[in-house]
Assembly symmetry: none
Homo-oligomer: 223 residues x 4
DNA sequence: CATGAATGAGATTTCATTCAT
DNA sequence: GATGAATGAAATCTCATTCAT
């Protein structure tokens, strides 16, 4: 128990330091989301290894005690963060599913021009850490498998429509595209200069060419 | 190549160094290599975020003092480690350059069946950290560019020989293949179960198919 | 790793704050003993629950870092403390073994007039904590069993000499005497007022009477 | 005692407290008792040093706020707990007073076969902490003295009936028996293996023998 | 040369207590 | 009356780095 006699001095005197305490009818989920955003911001900026609960708390404008009030420990925070990132990714894919424009999907997947610019920086940090945090690796495994399934389904649709080469099974193609995305995700934050807007377009074109049916083959499938 | 010899103050002035004739830096280099190996081992096992100089010292069987004696600080250790990893990678590629068997190269690159099994686990850890350690990012940028050049040259040779599709410039193709490799490197330590030997073969076949000339096109280039 | 750039300002200027650092040819065992003494002192004064490594360090005049340098963690510190206490107790008993004056032994055992006045206060604190620190409970079990053996041997000698009642086996008697000692050890620090010197004498006399042969029985054994 | 009635907010409609006539403190007392039981459970299981208000609250199925609402602070909780334990002990002794079967009393006292199995584990934890919590030590002193008085009275009765040796004053004997009980109470949770049912019987027999009149002496008192 | 004792900061986590609601 | 969000201190432990020897 270790005697914790705080017995703090009441510094209510003056207008300064109005410590907000007690029960502000907090929306637990909202506060958690707020903390997750702060955590993402810190990780994106400083990297996973340099991220501490203290920094997250500072970024969120509260004390470390508040952070551990909402997340039992660092692992839980990080796991929740991963889940939330995948959620937003899933949401993005869901909107696409109806109209499988392969190029648009790849563009979003690979370079995520839209939405959260911190997405890949955070994701890559989390991914490499996954290996050494079992509870976290489980999340990755589960959600990544789902992503690949969605991608495979999209590619299969493309194959049926003749916009995607069909000499490679859709699931294998999904794996390749997934790896491609992971690779770019990894290098993008490290070498931002390499990935200018125009270079990204060219890379995308090349990737599309890779998975498109060869000119001759398309005709064949059409005959 | 990653020779950082005599970073420290060279006190050759006294009578001390007189006794040492042969390679006085030999011991030093050997000890550094030993420490680098220990560092790689710890990083591969515990991840960058959980690696401390103390653990490296323990793994190498010496004290923390020794580590900081041979490396001015942690950053220098990590940078030297990255250099040495690239050295070994370069060596691997150099042997291949004479006989550009694309499949063999990809196999080594992507799955590195031969040699150090810690290679990718360590590399991925270092890569994601690069962003937040400027001196280290510089190393990555420089060496990675060289790797892509080598790969592009290999692919260009393949294009000339008709074994690689030529509807995409070699340098763009090298970028794609590089990203593919990075992606697999990233996921391999996280989801080892996904990468069984047979799955790796299938993935490799698919990758080869992706960069191979389309059946019709090859004939065209041959005419 | 979490970037720990101390890079402290060298405050060598002036005579103040001469921080002793580096390698003072420390005698590891001596330093550990010193820290154990400090720990005993804190525990005796503040109780186990209120003892922190910080307080131990302050008492020993060093930083908490120094404490954890010599003891991997709190459990190790506490276990080592228990061992050292038992060592000193064993030493006390060893000197007695040659001349088994039951009264003197009991006096020392039960009230430990000689030697470390912190002995029982510390011991009782450690004992109650043993249950919840497995590694520690093991020490207690092992050493306590030995103590009881020694005591049983002493009592057996007394029985052979006719100074101790022999209608109860020596080992059972040792258990009783041990429990008596534990009980007093427990209450002594709590109710110091109850245990005046004269009261202790009376209690001792009563205890001696309890384990002495009854007047009639002694004659019987003497015949 | 573990009455969980009206745990939640009392929604008695708009009339609120008007409905409550009888003992408005009845609920309060019940809730306090419930919390005390939870506290005892936690202390028995985890030890005093590892007990926190939070754990107590969890065990009781409420929030920390509830605990500090019913008990001004931790000290008050612990003191109330001690009082309640002594109450139950007193109750046990009271039933025995009419029929002073020394063996039965000792059995209950020393090994407390009947009733709450957490009794001694909790009591020993509280006792060693008493020294460092003055308000708490006062409780111990007062109640323990009363216990010894009761025990002394019982022993005096035994002496009058010839079932207890009378060569030692009853109050001294009570002190010895009390210490014996404390000693066993202390070791019992630590070395449960030592205290098998049969061993307990043997120890009890020995203790009875210790305080029984010697064979010769009994005859003397009978003459 | 090389060691390892020691530092001081910081990380994670726990905790008793407070107080707006 | 009762809750539970939040605090701020402290506890344990880890770490990169320094420096006397």
């Amino acid at each position: 128990m270790s005697e914790n006699s705080t017995r703090r001095v009441r510094r209510d005197g003056g207008t300064a330091a109005v410590v907000r305490r007690g029960r502000p009818t907090g929306d637990r989920a909202a506060k958690r989301a707020e903390l997750l955003a702060a955590a993402a911001s810190v990780i994106a900026q400083e990297g996973y290894a340099n991220t501490s609960l203290r920094k997250v708390a500072q970024r969120a404008g509260c004390t470390t005690g508040a952070v551990t009030y909402y997340f039992a420990n660092k692992e839980e925070l990080v796991t929740a963060l991963a889940e939330s990132r995948f959620d937003s990714f899933d949401a993005m894919l869901a909107t696409e599913r109806s109209q499988p424009d392969i190029r648009a999907i790849l563009e979003r997947w690979l370079f995520r021009n839209t939405g959260d610019p911190e997405f890949w920086p955070v994701m890559s940090q989390l991914l490499v850490h996954a290996r050494h945090e079992p509870a976290f690796a489980a999340v990755i495994e589960r959600r990544y498998a789902r992503l690949r399934d969605v991608l495979a389904a999209l590619l299969a649709t493309g194959q049926a429509q003749g916009t995607v080469r069909d000499d490679i099974p859709a699931d294998l193609l999904a794996d390749q595209v997934g790896a491609l995305g992971d690779g770019w995700m990894l290098m993008l934050p490290i070498e931002p200069k390499r990935f200018t807007a125009s270079r990204v377009q060219v890379l995308l074109d090349a990737a599309i060419t890779l998975i498109s049916p060869p000119p001759g083959a398309r005709r064949t499938s059409g005959s």
